[in-house]
């Protein structure tokens, strides 16, 4: 079974109009749109078709991250939008219960504590809509401010709720208001910052059951291990940096076979899970292979030194171990 642990919602056109109105009206009026079921079904079917084309059995879908509007004033904007996106995801799952699982987007409005909007929405998604995980955006200011690092107490109530609900968090930043740092690059940099902040603050000592997946192969860290190994030795830490890193999970969503090999070596194949973000940034034709960059199943199958068990871990079993709520109420294929 091929589980794509990192994929996003395909939205019906009406959602974009709603988003436009939210931006223009800044949540004024303060209402949710009613989208015809046919539109939603059409979008869901499109996504299923795209999965079928590359052999994905099951996708974990979350809201499109760069459209989360976490920094758009006032906080009600991102809240309405999160609710809307999560509701659409719930519809997808209901329509295709053996093809989708829901991963919640959280209304992390930059100037408010997480308790105000983000955690209630997480609870709603998990408890009422059956979601199995959530996104965590390490920079809700989207580049406009200097947020607390993921190891800081600001985030603890979220970790507390996640462990109570037994859902993992996928580290994935949102938009970027900085002209020099496009959102797609900010994803990468925020993942590096997230790893260093979480490990530096010994967050997993305080929250031993917390489960964190770092998207896109972990930003720069697996490639820059040397720097952090040395830093760790200089700080006199008991655990090596490699040991620390293995408290995290990573996905394969970086569209490069060589890099995934490096990731598997550094983090271990029991810490890497299949993820493609398809359709998304990688949905472009690679002229060398004549496949889309995000058609990554053949890439991983092509890593010769992986054992069959390791490959299965990556494609399926690691994900099952982490997203424990994902398979409770469903028949496995």
């Amino acid at each position: 079974m091929i589980i794509d642990s990192h994929a996003h919602l395909v939205m019906p056109p009406e959602s974009f109009r709603f988003m436009a109105e939210l931006i223009g009206g800044r949540a004024n009026p303060n209402t949710l749109p009613k989208i015809p079921e046919a539109s939603v079904r059409k979008a869901a079917e499109e996504l299923v078709r795209s999965m079928d084309k590359v052999g994905t059995d099951l996708q974990f879908i979350s809201p499109r991250p760069y459209l989360q509007m976490h920094s758009v004033k006032p906080g009600r904007v991102t809240e309405l939008w999160s609710i809307h996106c999560n509701d659409l995801i719930a519809q997808f799952v209901q329509m295709f219960p053996d093809r989708f699982r829901g991963v919640a987007g959280l209304p992390q409005y930059m100037d408010e504590p997480l308790e105000q909007r983000a955690i209630p929405e997480l609870r709603r998604c998990v408890e009422q809509l059956g979601f199995v995980g959530c996104l965590i955006n390490p920079d809700p200011t989207e580049g406009l401010g200097d947020p607390p690092g993921l190891g800081e107490p600001y985030w603890h109530p979220l970790y507390q709720a996640m462990t109570e609900l037994d859902v993992p968090g996928l580290i994935h930043s949102a938009g970027s208001c900085s002209a020099r740092e496009s959102y797609t690059l900010k994803f990468i940099n925020e993942e590096s910052i997230a790893i260093v902040s979480l490990l530096g603050a010994k967050t997993f000592d305080a929250f031993p059951k917390l489960k964190i997946v770092v998207a896109h192969g972990g930003g720069a860290i697996p490639y820059q291990m040397g720097r952090f190994r040395a830093w760790s030795v200089r700080k006199g830490e008991k655990e090596t940096f490699d040991q620390q890193l293995r408290k995290l999970y990573f996905d394969t969503c970086n569209y490069s076979g060589e890099s995934i090999e490096l990731l598997c070596k550094v983090a271990g194949t029991d810490r890497v899970m299949f993820g493609t973000e398809k359709p998304g940034t990688g949905s472009a034709r690679d002229p060398l292979t004549d496949r889309d960059y995000d058609d990554m199943k053949p890439v991983i199958e092509g890593i010769e030194w992986l054992t069959e068990a390791q490959r299965r871990d990556i494609f399926e079993c690691n994900c099952r171990r982490v997203y424990t709520r994902a398979f409770d109420n469903y028949t496995d294929r």
Copy 2:
């Protein structure tokens, strides 16, 4: 002939998606969308049908004001969006040359001088696309800052360009980031501020050929004339406030017969032009009349004391006098 001088673009669904991407990606990548002609035609036809339903012969269409994103960082966002909207309008006009005229939206990014993006786009629209007027947003900060009043030198280069090009400006604010002042109310308040600022600064002495239309019946000013008459007397001004007010034009887009009567009395019927913003805020059923609020032709026809000539002025002739470029290259019906 019924000319609706104040109407806005009806957008194809692809435009909303583009807007969403602009917000999420903050003009990164820096490209314009390609929208299928069929989608554009469908939207244009929808608008023509809505005109037919209420008996409008010709609409002057501009971008949807509250979606102009003048305060969304960086300036390239609103520039791409303005170009896109204006290009769509040009397509509408080309498809239905006897039903539409183009009024440009300007990329008035809040932190930049008008010469950087707004005036070049105005020139492009008038000189290359045949547009006949433009919108002017008195608060490009959309409530986040304290912009210079319309009488200040900041705006003079725009007035210079407008008089050179012989196009009027329609005062119409954009979005509102203030939680307490919805965009629809901000429209009204900004119109009041615009009138007081323009008249207070004696702008028409410096730009005697400048033509300004104030949307929505002129904000609060016609209703609050007493206050400004007294203020003017106390300042010892030579012209009465009523005389000053009559340097401006107004449209009827305020959805209330009694108020339009007041407007006509205060400003004079030679200064009022038909405008409905249809479809827009007023596209809701009035339970008293069972017509939409923005179906305003019957409302004006119902003002009994208007002479036929006055009524024709409002429906057609004032508009022709002000929008002089609108009828140069077209056969009048």
Copy 3:
């Protein structure tokens, strides 16, 4: 009996000197002035003479709004000034108990909660000085910031105190630091914002005994009813916007007969009370009538379609119904 529900303190010259020292010294030293009783009496007599000239029996006087210094740092400045002004008003009332009633100005310093200075001063004025109402400035930042709308929880403690004390609030903004929006225009815009915010937040559901009077004929709203009627229908509200509006009271202080007629039609004559702000902005000679703009008794008497009862409501009875504390301890004439 003619009750002018909206009038302001006429200050002795010593008060201006005190204000100047407050600004220069920023409440340093932190003391109140001692003003000779003769000076106060002279100012009070001047005001009585001006009332007599236009036939006003009783005035409700509050501090001069645009001099309230709500945004002048630090908060002690406006507090000292409010106390001074309210104390003067109390002296006026004591000197002429059958000609004046006190309406408190509140030290609404922009960066502080209302509990810190404003509500204690309200209690002092009502409980110790016998005041019968208060001013409410919807923008204590005086244009420098983005305050919470009047429907927001920030204001609830004030509404709680007002209902406990059974005093109405007169919506009236103060100064304006924005160069493009003079204080006199800001009055109007803030009234529009206040109405929309209070009605939008359903404030009167939470505070059913709250009594709010909107000054100057309600800003732009009675003139722009069409817009808000449509908006209300589109939001699917149960009450029409007209019904909602009639939860508020308005005064006639807009110096234009036509507009007051419109106001009476829209809000109902049971919701409109006589108010002139005399002497004030309207104290200038209208060349058409050769009366001051704020000599409004003849204006209202000249509205032919008003019944005698309606006229009495406007001149006296509505005010008596709203300002219930105003007549407890006094013999009515």
Copy 4:
């Protein structure tokens, strides 16, 4: 002849009212008051009487510094106020030409270059009104910002104008918005900063004809000479700090005989000029002497070690040497 080189305008009550309106209306409307000549004359006579009481022959009067409103937004506020105050001073001088000379207050609005308002007003005062000097406020932000030190190029255009016009500048700060630093203490601190900035930047090398008088005995510097002597030695400066200090002038306005003795020793009696700021801060009864603190003629007469020539320098001659324009067109007594 006793010349009090440091005194301020005594204002008629109407001026305070105008100031109050300026603050409230923020220069909106943008007009100057008309004050009855009798009011002005009354104020001038009061000041002359106060001079007679303490034996002052001639006063150099400038606007009341702490009321200059240099930080009140927008710049037009302080400009109107400066013009008003300077015009009053001109009237005083015209009324009592042998008792007064004018020292201009400058509209140093904090966010603008000096060329915009301050220097034009200086030119008007000197060239049209016959003024003989000006005030210089080293902190036009009045504690809200971090202005350039007096040695910085920001100030050079003013020094250029002063030397062209041959007028000295009296260092005297204005109000203080900081709650912890009252304006009266800020005077002292700003004088210290001014001295260190001017000397540190070698301003007198660039403007050898610049004449600067530091009010209130030079802030803390004469008392803290040791610190700056050592600092100067450590920086390896060629001139001693004592030599540098003697490029400045000082006045005696510090209300303490012991301190004035120290000042005379440190700066030299050829650099100290009589100044009392009377009536002002020092107009309070000293219980030890039963004279007002600002009745300083006896204090200086009581310094026994001063020679008669030195005493004359202080009372008269230094002032004549510095304020060269003060005696051109007048008959000396």
Copy 5:
């Protein structure tokens, strides 16, 4: 016995390297340096030699004030630095118990309450390291902000802790980020502000056991007594300003004999204690005396009108009375 109550740590070179790393790394990593005892001893011996040269028996040493980095973000920077400096001081005292006493520097990070870092470090220094006093920096923003005056409640927890621990505080500001106000001048201005704030707020009424020493002879205040005497009379205060001033202590660290004479006259010799800050700003050769400016013992010995008892008070006894913890556990020489 000659006690120099105001002196600072002489640091080993390794401390500067640590400071550089703190600035560069902003407390990242978050560790303290290990400095070889020999380096510390060498620095301590250097300081002892400098004391011997001028005849000082005992020095009270605190961290070098201008290097305290109170405004360097984040707060952990100044905390690590304070701990390091205080630890060094403790080593000095341990090495030369009859030559040194410790006065703690506090990590007063500008954006945090004193309870977070400053008071815990004070307790550590007094209770664990045997310190006898502390520095108080009235402006932890180092010129970047507008801190609460020393009389404000912000500071009360510190005063509470100081009185509980029975330690005095030496008013001494830190660095200065303002280009126009060097740190050495800011010392002086902050002392003036501190005095006026403490006395104005009647702090000693609330904390009668609080002991405050103002460095550098009290800023400008003893020289500017006249101004504050008059101010006090005008405010109608019961205590004269001279009486109020005598609640404070002062040190002689201003390098000028004439000024110290003035200080002794104004504050009284029972309120002045010997202090030189040697080695420091004053460690430069005075060409007139061929002694260093901070070699102040001969200066005080040269004030002829001092009695022997007064001289002993200044050199020793006042300090003993104020720093009561300094002599508990030590044998006096």
Copy 6:
């Protein structure tokens, strides 16, 4: 010959003291230290010894990046510090002309254009001191602001100067004021941002002779190639992202053999040059190899698939090709 293209100054202890004084005094006083030649020589010899230990023949040394203080106010601080560091480097080169070359640190103060301090210092270093390259910090705000991307016109004057002088720039950020992003991680993220900004803006089309070396193996980009390949295809760029990347140079300073292999594959061995930053972050013992992490010669020698020519390119020849000024006046070994 082994050339370490990326190494930093080892500073004498006096430099740290100077840095501390600069921070404390904020360039007040404004002077440079005089450091004994023996101290400098000792530091240089220490560095030579460390080179000998790992077999490095020649080091290109620049100032310690994280100590550059680019965000410390005012700009004179970083200017004095840069001059000091560059002067030390010049001394090192003069003392050991066959072991060192100078790479300039630039005083890139965050709030100023590069023409003010940075470019003059570059010219001084190259033209007067014989330096051969410079550092470029892409974020002179050190995390406090949002600087223009390296492709923006802000940077063009520097590129112009660099090409005129024929010196390459080494992309290397400085300190980090963000608590969540340590300077060592910021290095990595800034390198990724620099690459994407330079390539996205087509900077090398405008400056075809510009030579840029990206430190630490190019941040995250070689590892995240897939993402940017897809992005490039989606933008329809003519050159592939791989082709674009090969316009830059990279160094090996990332302390991980596997990663350097990936870098060589992605960028090509003709674009990679030996660099170790020794001594620096990597100077810690790797427990697996028992060599320091920054002892990287064996690491590169151990990459088996490199040809001898490729290895020589990395160790020496690429560097010679890029740093053309480095070998003009020197005899090659």
